[in-house]
């Protein structure tokens, strides 16, 4: 089954210098492991929400605004699409992502017909 992992973290969180070094390294190791296992299909880190733009069309008019769709404490910092045997494997994969140790990883199955 295919799942999308939303990698979410509180932008205001302050990491120690040690963590700032360790987390990107751990994230790279995670990508390497999951790709070698044939689990991670694609994914990317995202620019912060300060660089986000929202687009809506109402009555034929394109409404463009600065900022994210919803003002929440935790923001999507990245995403990964994985192929896992079942939810238990997806949970295991998510729990190994370093952001899950201080942020949240939301596991969403892709819609299947």
């Amino acid at each position: 089954m295919k799942y999308l992992l939303f990698i979410c973290a509180d932008a205001a969180i302050s990491l120690s210098p040690g963590q700032k070094e360790e987390i990107p390294r751990a994230a790279q190791a995670w990508v390497a492991e999951m790709e070698s296992r044939g689990i991670r299909l694609q994914g990317h880190q995202l620019r912060p929400v300060s660089d986000a733009t929202t687009v809506r069309v109402r009555d034929g008019e394109v409404l463009v605004a600065d900022g994210p769709f919803a003002e929440t404490k935790e923001q999507i910092a990245g995403f990964d699409i994985i192929e896992a045997a079942d939810l238990d494997e997806a949970i295991e994969v998510a729990s190994k992502h370093p952001v899950s140790w201080f942020g949240t990883v939301e596991v969403r199955p892709l819609w299947q017909e």
Binding site: M1, A84, D86, L87, A90, I91, V107, Q112
Partner: protein, 421 residues
Amino acid sequence: MAGVTPDMTQDVGAAVTAAFHAEWGRVVSVLIGVTGDWDLAEECAQDAFAQALRSWPRDGVPRRPGAWLTTVARNRATDRLRRGAVEAARLKEAAMLVAPETAGNDDESGIADERLRLMFTCCHPALALEARVALTLRTLAGLTTTEIARAFLASETTMAKRLVRAKHKIRNAGIPYRVPPAHLLPERTGGVLAVLYLLFNEGYAATAGADLMRAGLCDEAIRLARVLARLMPDEPEAAGLLALMLFHHARRAARTDEAGEIVTLEEQDRSRWDRSEMEEAAALLGAARRRDRAGPYLLQAEIIACHAAAPTAAATDWAQIAVLYKRLSDLAPSPVVELNRAVAVAMADGPAAGLDLLATLERAGPLAGYHLLAATRADLLRRLGHRTEAAAAYREAHGLAVNEAERRFLARRLAEVTGQP
């Protein structure tokens, strides 16, 4: 059909009821295993029991009702899938259903495994706790949506939606139908035990409403705990939970008087305790103790075993109970355990020692607004003869309690300490 021995003297209705309690979960779990379709599995299990009501009076009760019911349900599933099979994939599925009709099919251990798979799937942590409880009652115990709704004081529509949503999530999110692998087993087993204990407690002391015991839920929880303990003989906590439930259940007749009023442990008529249930629980503890890996359920069962062993309330070994609560508190720290420890210490070393522990607990704050904290303080103050302070604490507890029987009990105690009728 082989294995059917016509015996018209049997009470067929009772046999079907007994088979329902014993076999429902088994039939459903086998059918989910072969079809992967939860709704189809339930419907075919229902059909099989309806068929039993029709044919058992005529042909007699089969020697192995479980095997008979499983076969009928499986044939029904095959028919339904065949009839509905428009695509080739569906046909293949139907063909697969016929294949396992071979020897060893009725093998007890193989079928038992299916039920264990069903338990772990129903209690998967990716489902909301209330959904886990409802799903366990529906698929494993065979309670109807109406019965589950009544037991949890929810509307039938709400409960039906909850069950549908849970089954959809299992399918759509890919929750596996299996017993978790060894590295996940300890944490997942804890989740299954927690759901069963929650079921039992919900039946034992209703959190709201007038009746203190909803016996049906207790019986179902004990039945399921029995299945789990048998299927996981190497898990001492499974035996511990079953023993704990049996010890509580053994005291059910003595917990309330004829008028439905609460009788405290101290004042219970111990001759009304169910000795056979207590002996079964004690035997379970004896076997589990040898494994030397006491978990929270086993320790709680040990505590009740101390009460059960005392011929009178005065003969209770409170010092030993205080020690057990300390071990429980070290293993699984919780403010409620600390509250119980305070009671045990008060009984062993005097009310003042207990009040000291209570004061520490009250300063920490997690139990603020919990009626049993105020009720315990009231009781210890009453034992010390501090009637005015005790009355204030009883009033506080009375204001916080929800259960009607508990409220009447607290009102009675308040009247005693204030000397008013």
